[in-house]
Symmetry: C2
Subunit: 348 residues, 2 copies
């Protein structure tokens, strides 16, 4: 085992603070990564504060990890020391179920091993990216394209794939009209990716406050959902609406904005049930669906796509000592558009 | 105009009774059909009783019509006198919108002309199949395969296509597992069609009362939804679940029965919103969707498919004088599996 520096939460009410944790030595198929950057995802806050129950403490959050390969196990073939790599929301899966065999490990039916707040197959609790180093089986490590900066690329590992996967799955491309509800960490990268895929992109945001940024990111249109006119004007407009907002919405209003065969896809889980009216579903063969991050193969495809289109996230880089403050700002949506922790500051 | 015999409702509380109505003389592209049979759809009852609002009286219901061509307009090319034909839920559409051009007239965005309780483009109220004759533009007339009896084929025009279309759209075939909720008029033909498409078919019914019939119709499995064990045993089992029941259900229980990428499709419209939990949607990329009958092209395809597989509905044939009694029995689900009116009895 190696002792390394990290920031951890000791219980659900404690702020994150400096700690020392242990990482295993690389096994034959493991890659040891010096973490350079880690994004802050809203999920980190939910889990640190045990808002979904079942949190494991001490907890080192973080699943938007980028860094440099420091060491490789004897049988590693995919990576070598010095490679620029990333780790996303999971670090292992069963590898045998239909989902794993289909390259959709995120839906693994025998227990996905999440990057933190989870346990390895041998029972060891997993610890995330707010730390110096992480040791991961090479099959769950991603390659970061050379032209993408490691800090701005970090949130692609969760926010990026969370939007890329449903955009691809529901056929986004030239001639398609896509709306993104919410222009936060998820929404802003969704706009960039959908635009790069060739779609006509509309942002549906509560207000027009971030309109200028939205258009700069690649949106063709920007509407305020606080204005009832929006829901009249945009009726029957979209092939796909992706909802990145967890707050309760009037879902049926949004279903009316879909074309025939359109889909409203949720990528977050609201606290309450979605009260869906069957009428718009039946009258236009519309659907309400969900999507969860993406598999390893698709995550690599997303990174390569972002490399080819020179897309990364718009971030605010912070020292790890400001992480608790950053959490408060995330809760107020006071960030454009994702916080990324500079892990060099862990050594300070 | 021609005066013909029919059964109509004069207001929302009156029983259906004998009446004389007028039909237009066939225009150049019209087909005049001597109606031999008409199925009774639950929709007929909803509309006769104005349960959805906006009903137009006097109303002659009926949109599961079969009969023989009696006369054709000067420019009719698709049909000739003596042909065995059918008319379904609509008799015209705008022909210019994307939906019409895509052959999905049922979703016509400029006003579908329903077979009854609707108005023609010239404002004339439409009158349905509980009548001697109907005059319909040839483009909205279907051909009934020679081997299908006209009485048992009648309910294919609504019930049949209502199930066939979503089964096809969501890829039913060999190797697929399909569940049908409810074994009524819709469910029973859904079982036959899904079975003929090669799928493994499961009926999910409140009780096991109709199990024997269900298996005879082609179901491979039959489960009672009143038994909580059903929802444990069938978890993650189905590619597609079609809900033919309008009553309120615990939708989230059914979502758990879907595989990854599975769809729960509603073909009826429940009175209340569907409270869907986003968790199963996100955790398995599942969807809740709707589907409405089918277009003319697909309805003909369905009829030809039923002809090729020798499939028609299991019906109880009644004289039109028993229609009000039949309505009461439909409301109690006391029919195996669809009432069809023998229109010869209209002359009695």
């Amino acid at each position: 085992m190696t002792q390394i520096k990290a920031f951890s939460a000791v219980n659900e009410t404690a702020p994150l603070s400096a700690a020392t944790i242990e990482r295993r030595l690389p096994k034959d198929n493991d890659v040891s990564i010096n973490i350079e950057y880690c994004g802050i995802c809203h999920t980190d806050i939910h889990q640190v504060r045990n808002e979904w129950g079942g949190s494991i403490y001490p907890m080192v959050p973080g699943h938007e990890i980028t860094g440099i390969v420091a060491e490789v196990g004897a049988k590693v073939t995919k990576f070598k020391v010095g490679d620029r790599v990333g780790v996303g929301c999971f670090v292992d899966s069963c590898r045998t179920c239909t989902e794993c065999k289909d390259g959709l490990e995120q839906y693994c039916s025998n227990g996905l091993v999440l990057t933190y707040n989870s346990t390895e197959h041998d029972g060891t609790p997993t610890m995330g990216g707010y730390s110096e180093k992480i040791v991961v089986n090479e099959d769950y490590v991603l390659r970061i394209p050379a032209n993408l900066p490691l800090d701005a690329a970090a949130p692609l590992l969760c926010a990026g794939i969370t939007l890329y996967s449903p955009l691809r799955h529901w056929g986004t491309g030239r001639g398609k009209k896509v709306a993104i509800i919410g222009l936060g960490g998820l929404g802003h990268i969704g706009v960039k990716i959908a635009h790069a895929m060739g779609a006509e992109v509309t942002v549906l945001s509560q207000s027009l406050k971030k309109k200028e940024e939205g258009l700069k990111l690649g949106a063709d249109h920007y509407y305020a959902t606080s204005d009832p006119e929006t829901f009249t004007e945009l009726q029957g407009r979209f092939d796909l609406i992706i909802n990145t907002v967890s707050a309760a919405l009037d879902w049926n209003l949004y279903l009316n904005l879909l074309k025939r065969d359109g889909a409203l896809v949720v990528v977050g889980i609201p606290d309450t049930n979605i009260p869906v009216n069957a009428f718009p579903l039946v009258m236009g063969r519309k659907s309400v669906a969900g999507s969860l991050i993406g598999g390893i193969k698709e995550t690599q495809e997303m990174l390569d796509f972002c490399g080819a289109h020179n897309i990364a996230c718009d971030i605010e880089l912070i020292p790890i000592q400001k992480v608790n403050e950053a959490y408060e700002r995330v809760l107020k949506s006071d960030v454009k558009f994702r916080f990324v922790i500079d892990m060099a500051t862990l050594k300070a």
